[in-house]
């Protein structure tokens, strides 16, 4: 049986602990950036994107921003090379 991919709306409706679990199990790293002193990591998850804003890197999450718009990729473009797109993945 094939598992149905989670939609953006379904992801947003999940409790935060479950969102972390899904992101940890299925998220594909896209890039990392700093917003002032905050570290932000962008993941691709199924057909949408999730940005994790940290209060403390990999320890305390401030908030998540989910979007299915590719505009969210803009600040990370310098970290994405064309091979990642052709392979459909980015590793970290």
């Amino acid at each position: 049986m094939t598992k149905k991919a989670l939609s953006l709306t379904e992801f947003m409706d999940l409790p935060q602990e479950l969102q972390f679990e899904v992101l940890h199990k299925h998220g594909v790293y896209v890039g990392k950036r700093k917003v002032e002193r905050q570290t932000v990591v962008l993941f691709q998850l199924h057909g949408f994107y999730v940005e994790v804003y940290y209060k403390q890197y990999r320890k305390i999450v401030d908030h998540l921003i989910s979007s299915n718009s590719t505009d969210i990729l803009q600040p990370y473009l310098d970290q994405i090379n064309i091979k990642d797109f052709t392979d459909g993945k980015k590793e970290k």
Binding site: L23, F43, Y57, R58, I60
Partner: protein, 149 residues
């Protein structure tokens, strides 16, 4: 009377991200009595180190290798590591922010584990324990015994 302590287990960790290195160093503090963690900024540094040392004096019990690194990525580092006879069988873990099944298969093909980096604090120690699980039974037993577990 002096009693000599058994040598610490040596873990070698390559990652280009200073924040990830800091996190793992901190997480390994709870094993500091038993484990010495050496860090390298990328795969080239790690390979240069192990090629230069005398394997009789420096015997790592585990390699932790980030996948996405400049100069030499983690997969190529692992591939080259496995070509060195002395280290061909030493436990290794590919460590990644993504959990791509293809990477897990690659790791398995090179007799290595695959661990996804933590997203938040409740996962940090679980993941370090998961990494330690890849050590040999002898090393695990020693670490756990000396850690009082």
């Amino acid at each position: 009377m002096t009693q000599s302590l058994p040598p610490k287990s040596l873990v070698l960790y390559a990652d280009d991200d200073p924040e990830d290195i800091e996190l793992v160093v901190e997480a390994f503090q709870s094993y500091a009595q038993n484990v010495e963690l050496m860090t390298f900024a990328d795969g080239i540094e790690l390979l240069n180190f192990i090629e230069a040392v005398d394997p009789l004096h420096v015997a790592p019990c585990l390699f932790i290798i980030d996948i996405n690194m400049p100069r030499l990525n983690g997969k190529e580092t692992l591939r080259r590591l496995r070509r060195i006879e002395t280290f061909a069988e030493v436990p290794a873990v590919l460590f990644s922010t993504s959990s791509l099944p293809a990477d897990a298969v690659f790791a398995k093909n090179f007799n290595a584990g695959f661990v996804t980096k933590p997203l938040h604090t409740s996962q940090v120690h679980l993941i370090i324990d998961e990494i330690i699980e890849h050590c040999s039974d002898e090393v695990k037993k020693m670490i756990k015994k000396r850690n009082g577990n």
